[in-house]
Symmetry: C3
């Protein structure tokens, strides 16, 4: 297995666990949980591959499906351990968007799209699985719920990637730093409760 696939699989594991945690809150049965874990982990990459015009990754490589199955079974069995990690949904979701952002950017680059499109692809790859998870679990999507810095962190990670590309760094280093930027920016923003100012029409206050 190459470095690239390893990272992809780590993202699949992180998002599968986030899917299991979300669906257990809704008291789903094991098959329902499996479906949510599956959709959460492959949703973003599926959108990415369809938009670019690539064959859909999880359909061509059974590793994805096996990893999702095993992760889901483990996450269900060890669910009480998972919950000892405070904010575990936050943790796995954040690692997931960090990894998927950079994978999306690199897939866009490999199809020779310009940087701004690659950043858009990376952001969508990262956010779409979680949006599907939240819609299917009847939650307001995380992306829009908390006014957290979420997609913004992905965009910053994508921008970091293209800045680092200008320096003479190994591709693993560029990948790792950009993914870490997403994770750190989102974590710091949540920890220090940093939000961007919201924009609205003043008369909306008195409708």
């Amino acid at each position: 297995m190459d470095y690239y696939l390893v990272i992809d699989i780590l993202g699949v594991i992180a998002f599968s666990i986030s899917g299991v945690l979300s669906s257990m809150k809704k008291k789903m049965d094991p098959f329902g949980i499996l479906i949510i874990a599956f959709v959460t982990s492959v949703g973003g990459g599926t959108l990415r591959d369809i938009l670019i015009g690539f064959p859909v990754a999880w359909m061509r490589n059974l590793t994805y499906v096996h990893v999702i199955l095993i992760t889901t079974i483990f996450a269900i069995i060890f669910r009480k351990k998972l919950v000892f990690l405070r904010r575990s949904l936050f943790l796995f979701d954040t690692v997931g968007i960090g990894l998927y952002t950079v994978i999306g950017v690199e897939k866009g680059l490999s199809a020779e799209f310009p940087p701004i499109i690659c950043i858009a692809i990376g952001t969508m790859t990262a956010c779409f699985g979680g949006v599907l998870r939240d819609i299917l679990c009847n939650e307001i999507p995380l992306l829009f719920r908390t006014k957290e810095i979420y997609a913004t962190a992905c965009m910053l990670g994508g921008i970091t990637y293209f800045i680092l590309l200008k320096f003479n760094l190994s591709s693993e280093l560029v990948f790792t730093i950009s993914g870490a930027v997403v994770i750190i920016v989102r974590s710091l923003a949540v920890y220090f409760d940093i939000r961007l100012p919201s924009v609205y029409l003043s008369h909306d206050h008195h409708p």
Copy 2:
């Protein structure tokens, strides 16, 4: 018309009627009803064809659009008859997922995907149209609402298909038995109120 297309058309009819019944509950106008019937019947197949990389079936063969139009008009005119059938939405939705599961599995096979991917494709083909119908009608998707055995029935039908393939049966027989498994499993589960146990974190009870 070949056997294959006939089955596909039966699925389109079943899902169109389920779309008409759902949208009439929301007191939509005839064009709104037509759109819901259309989305419900072609949604799953569209997702399937896009994932596999096939041309989208309903765009290449006008039979689909004509069948949806005629079914919708008939279902609207004879809506009072439809309602005499108790649980008619359940009936048509269940026949629809039975037929679409096996069609999805076979399309996956024809593109030479391995069995587990074919079962995933079949389950998605069966469930996606109904999920769209429920989202557009502002219902919690059936798939997640009632904790019924729903996607699980589709997966069992898909597994049956690959078990039967090992025996020396005609393709029509394999198709028919697998589709029947989906319909019977879901019907029995609803009739006897059988559910799989739900999995949750115990402290979620006292949030």
Copy 3:
């Protein structure tokens, strides 16, 4: 830039502004607003291109992304001016569906689909971005909310297009009249509160 791209860009501008107006109501931050503006303006065309099997337009031509960025920044800065236009969301949404309906019909024709499929493509191109916008902003989709004439106006515009094609008119004239039909039909319907009669099962009144 050719006539065709100009019209497409006008549609992008109209839908971007409608996305900005919707998301400002939800007090999103600037990046959230940008994402909603982006999804609203490219959603319909993305679905259209994927269904037809074309490369996705906004990924191949940076003009789209630049126009969305600039429009969003302008719309945020001049948001107080926008609100002086009464019903400005209605206005921009209506212009958007008018333009996108005809663009969708023409893209369908260029791929040699029959008229009824082209009308379906046009209607989807027009409606899908707004449906995504409303789902992401947690509104009941406009398409289904008000029982307004909405998708119906798009279908009438598409039908007009194919009637006009039979006469010896310039393609610009066919385009302009068909788009105007969508805008005028929807505007008149809202102004005079015209609705199509809804269809329902009488016993649904007493559930």
